[in-house]
Symmetry: C2
Subunit: 121 residues, 2 copies
DNA sequence: CTGAATCCAATCGGATACTG
DNA sequence: CAGTATCCGATTGGATTCAG
């Protein structure tokens, strides 16, 4: 996605856009999905994403999710630092959406085993 | 969303990304949702989107959806031209996802009547 | 370990004008 | 009606380096 700031602006009545907003961005959907399972630290998340995401992007996406109220960021005053990311209640409310996405994606991948080799090699 | 070409490339096992691909783009989700209801002509769709989308973008999104196999484009040899857009079976399989999105978006808008004024004025 | 800062190419997406 | 063509600012997202 990609828009001026899609901070949930939305034409009156356009629920789809509102729902798309928080999961828009290259990694947000996946991040939210993983957080559904448990709280993660920064680089646990990065590993979960198969390290295909750069720090810069992961930080950015997490910040946006935080700002949107979907994710909570808890910083521990330690050295070395530790930051936990977890879903807020709001974020957790996305569960049905994320499950629907996961389900469709799983089926789709089963139907199209060819179109996703790229990273498999 | 927004990526090099996210042609459904996806890390092995990442269903979420696969599912996000077809609905990524500023208007795709909404377009698909509308097509769920019925077949639409080009500018019927544009009106459905409250004319907030430019021709250029609508064309582009539709082309991508077509290429992804989600939407079928039927051209009638007429003057003036007529082009019908409808969901393919593949596209229709997204229905549960779209409904989940719609549902969440509707709830969200009810919870946050403030954050969506922008276009309402 | 969890970032922030900088640089940069590519893409996105709007505005506008034109066409069969 | 359903596009195409062009221009252009804004955003995306990767790579790399630095820091507390």
């Amino acid at each position: 996605m990609v828009m001026k700031k899609r901070n949930f602006e939305c034409a009156p009545g356009c629920s789809i856009e509102a729902a798309l907003a928080p999961i828009d961005g290259k990694w947000k959907g996946v991040i939210l999905f993983h957080l559904l399972e448990k709280t993660y630290r920064f680089n646990e998340l990065q590993r979960k994403l198969n390290s295909r995401v750069t720090q810069r992007m992961l930080v950015k996406q997490l910040r946006e999710l935080e700002e949107a109220g979907m994710v909570e960021r808890k910083v521990y005053a330690q050295v070395p630092p530790r930051v936990d990311y977890s879903l807020t209640e709001e974020g957790r409310s996305l569960e049905p959406v994320l499950r629907a996405l996961w389900s469709w994606g799983t089926d789709w991948m089963a139907r199209n085993p060819d179109k996703q080799a790229k990273t498999a090699a």
